[in-house]
Symmetry: C2
Subunit: 357 residues, 2 copies
């Protein structure tokens, strides 16, 4: 484990995106988006994935110079073709379109096809906050999740993020995979050589498993709820809604046919649409009530929930976004710890482009 300053990681990551042929503007956006994951403590989605993006570019599955286009629109909606660009670039573009629509129509909703992985959903949703808007972001991803009663993987971990502004209190920011546990949590236990709890994953026959490596053995992650008795059909429905809004509504791919992130995994033979899909929303607060009123009530909401009587063994009840915000402050100040395997990976990426890490 080595700790790096944000500015150092930024410079290196930016240079890598420039090296694969991104414009200065796109490299800047991609770097900020990617590193927001490391800052917020979602290590699985940050620089740990940089080499993966490079490999997708090498495999010609990512276009470093996309012409991102609005292909259809109404006053409150748009459909965007990402031209196979980095999701890290396509997503902020699309979220900005949603925000611009909301300025005029009250809300803006954008479905995106022909994109790639977009980093953490929360980053895009949070773009709305400075405009006194509620932001939403979701994306589909390649299939790792088995629906309730299924042995087969049919859905990605399909995250949903919702960011809601407050007044004196920090914003409410929920950013969650629609599975019981995100894949990154399994990876952490893999590295420690520890078991995963029952209820996170199943083996290839659909039997509950404690093997942290089970996904590599044709196992599957479980939808939020874990099993039917504990509501996994709800997690399955949520993941499906994300898939449909992101993939089917946009003209992207969906379900088991979503393109895989690892470039060594062949593309599914059948492609019902183009690339990964995302879905974004922005709702202007004052399209419903005066923004100041709303934000004052959000302060009351947040303060009341923070004061809920905690269980024995817990200091306090958290508000969605609390841990990530605290992590961001800490890591901006103290630096970002990078585990050795990711460090090696980044060094190799550097060598590829004659960049020193």
């Amino acid at each position: 484990m080595t700790t790096f300053l944000y500015s150092n990681l930024y410079q290196f990551t930016y240079s890598v995106f420039i090296s694969i042929g991104c414009s200065d503007e796109h490299a800047t956006v991609a770097t900020k988006t990617l590193l927001s994951a490391d800052l917020r403590g979602i290590d699985s989605h940050g620089v740990a994935r940089l080499s993966g993006y490079v490999r997708l570019w090498e495999a010609k599955r990512v276009n470093a110079n996309p012409q991102i286009k609005i292909i259809h629109e109404t006053p409150s909606t748009a459909t965007i073709d990402g031209d196979a660009g980095l999701g890290l670039v396509v997503a902020p573009f699309a979220m900005q379109v949603a925000i611009d629509k909301a300025k005029i129509a009250g809300t803006g909703w954008v479905s995106v096809c022909n994109s790639n992985h977009f980093g953490i959903a929360g980053y895009h949703a949070m773009m709305a906050l400075q405009h006194d808007m509620i932001g939403m972001a979701m994306t589909n991803a390649s299939a790792l999740v088995a629906p309730t009663f299924s042995k087969e993987r049919m859905l990605g971990t399909n995250p949903i993020a919702v960011a809601i502004p407050a007044n004196h209190q920090p914003s409410f920011v929920a950013d969650m995979a629609t599975t019981t546990a995100a894949n990154g949590k399994l990876e952490i236990l893999q590295r420690k050589n520890e078991d995963i709890p029952l209820g996170w994953a199943q083996d290839k026959d659909g039997i509950d498993s404690t093997d942290a490596n089970i996904i590599k053995k044709q196992g599957a992650l479980l939808p939020l709820g874990s099993d039917r008795e504990h509501g996994s059909h709800k997690g399955y429905a949520l993941g499906s809604i994300v898939d449909i809004f992101s993939g089917v509504l946009s003209g992207g791919s969906y379900g088991p046919w979503v393109p895989p992130f690892p470039a060594y995994v062949p593309m599914p033979e059948y492609q019902p649409g183009k690339g990964l899909g995302h879905f974004f929303g922005a709702m202007r607060i004052d399209a419903f009530r005066p923004a100041e009123d709303f934000k004052q009530h959000m302060d009351i909401w947040i303060e009341r929930f923070r004061k809920a009587t905690p269980m024995e063994g817990h200091d306090k009840v958290l508000i969605p976004g609390d841990p990530e915000r605290e992590m961001e402050i800490e890591r901006m100040r103290e630096g970002i710890p990078i585990v050795d395997s990711v460090l090696d990976d980044l060094k190799k990426v550097g060598e590829k482009f004659d960049l020193k890490f």
Copy 2:
């Protein structure tokens, strides 16, 4: 258990709503909305609640002749004051406004304050389907759910419904409480004198409980995910989003201050807003891509998921809405079974208004 034809239940329920002073139009809407729960097999939300609505009216917490008003709007949004009307009447009104907005602006989003319980969320979301729109409905409710790490009840079971049209396949209809199990499921086990599974509820000290009556003993339902290790912070975030969109955005009440459904429970002393809140959305499919294309791909999506390899012991993978749709066909034909306690309750309601049940 006695089985009644839909038409008989309809006539009785309609007459009760007329008896409390609803107009013919409102009584019709309220009856259809309420009985959609019985038809779809969500027995806890149908005629079983009729006496509860009557008691709210007796306690002057429900206005049988509401002047439902749009108090603010933009091209794609509206805020509605339900004038303390039956949610069963206010909600279809508001959903229609969302649909009308979507016809012009591409999407419509309506936040509602000063309402009451609205029956099942799925009914309202499904209103969008005939217009080739995606429908959404959610509502807050009085606090029965403890956030992650909380002993205190802070949220209602706050359901989310999403209805998505297909072509030859039946529509995708998800309708779910944001808890592991809906309160109605506990009530079923109470009647059978059976325990509930671990992971559904906790006692007043926050300890996991198997007592089906624990909610009556200051216990709490658990958010979807059950515990922190299995993602209960995600269920808590979802329930919170529903509360904020429904209550805070509309100027309604929220969190632990949402008015209780049982009329004998006193109103919370502090009221940050007016009544229960709901939130509705309608998105015109062809605001994103041609509706025929979308619906054909929804058929492919549904057919592929139905064909996912099932686990041992299960015939097939279900699509959200399958069980409720099958139940509706069966109950429309065979009748609706009413348990004895509900039957007694309905008879008493009938006596009150000199109506024969």
